[in-house]
Amino acid sequence: MTFPILDLIDVSVRSKDLIRLHVINVSVEAGTLACVIGPNGSGKSTLLALMAADLAPTTGRVMLAGQDLSKMTIGERAKRRAVLTQETTVSFPFTVRDVVEWGRIPWLSTTSSEENSEIVAEFMSKLKLNDLASRPVTSLSGGERKRVHIARVLVQKAPLLLLDEADSDLDLIGRQELDHLLLQQVKSGGSVVVVTHDARRIAPISDQVILMSAGRVHAVGKPSEVLTTDSLSSAFGSPLKW
């Protein structure tokens, strides 16, 4: 039996006179991977920010596992969803290990420090960060820094992962490994929403595709239904062969 981990009900976003997101209804089933695609400025990141509660909807409600996201405390939200933003800069030269360990902050009061270190060690090695552990994160390349943040988000052990262009900056192997980690996440009952420009790569592992265009949901459904030459061309406003 499935249930929606995320339910966006009659949600819209408006800032001053600008409509960033028209009224939409989107639902993501628990234990699935949903990918959000669309042209630049189509509202993908706005949609993700709503799901993360980084942004409050102007109208409508965002439900996380049946509970209104806006009524949860910041601490409750941190235990239920992890967010990878596009911003990977860290202001001061903290070490890679420091940054990954911050992912455990929501659990510090409820989990033993041994368990926290085990989880950190597990994902440090999954993301191949052991050799970089004591390097300042400010000295890393873009791809390395991205891996640090992915590890930080995964050690948060939230049932819902929201990833905004997690694959940008990663090389081909990095992307393959990321996909593998996301699939593991889904297999173990977690839910994942990814915003990406690499639809061809992510489509085969997605359960649902949300195609955005001009602040609206242009199409939503199984990859085979949404990713067609016709719907992509009309969403991107330009002939696009699939």
């Binding site: 910041i74 933003t85 800069t89 903290f94 070490t95």
Partner: protein
């Protein structure tokens, strides 16, 4: 924290030297006790309050605004506090009283509110905007202060130069007792914020996703900055660059974690003010050089280096 006893020992030694050295070198005479108790004593304690206050404020501003170039004097807090203090005195208060202290806090808080609200856009604090807003606020507050000092008899005991370059020479025990509670409360607040400040270096959205209430942390840090800086400024004037230099130097040695950074910066700031205040008394003996002039001579070139480094790590500022 192996360095802690050593650092404390160095500070104690410097306190003794600072008490002994001055425009009038203390020999063994009847007047010695009176000079130590009434002039040098309060001055040394004030140096500790000012040095630790400015350094802690620098750490808090840099951490809470994700801005490696923040300093209370550069972003206008000190100028606002000086103006607030002088305004209170021209309204009839005396220097180093509760009323002048509150005036200074109000001035510092208004200046800080203006520059931070301008520089945070879409929940992202902008490094350059903060400094530019600081230039404008400093100029504006400085101009009003000059007008007030020129037209008001009650503020005439302290010149415009005193306010712009700072001096510990007028320090009395009354001044120490006025400044101390504010610095102590400010230091107490900053001691509770180390781990939140660490996570804030990820940026607002990522910190929020980890359960850190970013605006509450920032609000608390900036209140502490006002307490740590304002009343000190209304007592000894504006001493620039201490809040910028000390955290950077300490970060280079012990790393960026805010727990140790706050503690060691407070000690290093104390050291710096003790040393520069002593230097200000002896370099041109018997004339005293304003302490703010010494910190600026050292601080400005280092600020220049930091600008270049920050620019390199953040890309150009077109």
């Amino acid at each position: 924290m192996r360095g802690r006893p050593a650092a404390l020992a160095v500070i104690l030694l410097l306190m003794v030297i600072a008490i002994a050295i001055g425009a009038l070198y203390i020999g063994v005479a009847d007047t010695t006790t009176s000079i130590i108790w009434n002039i040098r004593g309060p001055r040394v304690v004030m140096a500790i309050l000012i040095g630790s206050g400015l350094a802690l404020a620098g750490v808090l501003m840099q951490g809470s605004l994700s801005n490696p170039l923040a300093d209370p004097a550069l972003v206008g807090v000190s100028a606002g506090a000086a103006l607030g203090g002088v305004a209170a005195v021209s309204l009839g208060a005396s220097f180093n009283t509760a009323f002048s202290a509150l005036g200074a806090c109000a001035g510092g808080a208004i200046a800080l509110a203006v520059v931070t609200s301008i520089s945070i856009r879409n929940r992202v604090p902008e490094v350059v905007t903060l400094l530019l807003a600081g230039v404008a606020v400093t100029a504006f507050a400085g101009a009003l202060l000059t007008v007030l000092v020129s037209v008001s008899d009650s503020t005439a005991t302290r010149s415009v130069t005193f306010w712009s370059t700072g001096s510990l020479s007028l320090t009395t025990w009354a001044a120490v007792l006025t400044v101390a509670p504010f610095v102590i409360v400010g230091a107490g607040i900053s001691a509770t914020m180390a781990s939140s400040l660490d996570v804030l270096s990820l940026g607002d959205r990522a910190a929020n996703a980890l359960g850190v209430n970013v605006s509450a942390v920032r609000y608390r840090a900036l209140i502490a900055v006002v307490l740590l800086v304002s009343v000190g400024v209304s007592s000894v004037g504006v001493i620039a660059f201490v809040g910028l230099l000390v955290p950077h130097a300490v970060r280079m040695v012990i790393g960026p974690r805010h727990g140790p950074l706050l503690l060691i910066s407070a000690l290093a700031g104390t050291l710096l003010i003790l040393v520069t205040d002593t230097a200000s008394r002896v370099v041109a003996n018997p004339i005293e050089v304003p302490i703010g002039a010494i910190t600026a001579v050292v601080g400005a070139p280092i600020f220049f280096i930091l600008i270049r480094r920050t620019r390199a790590s953040q890309g150009g500022w077109a």
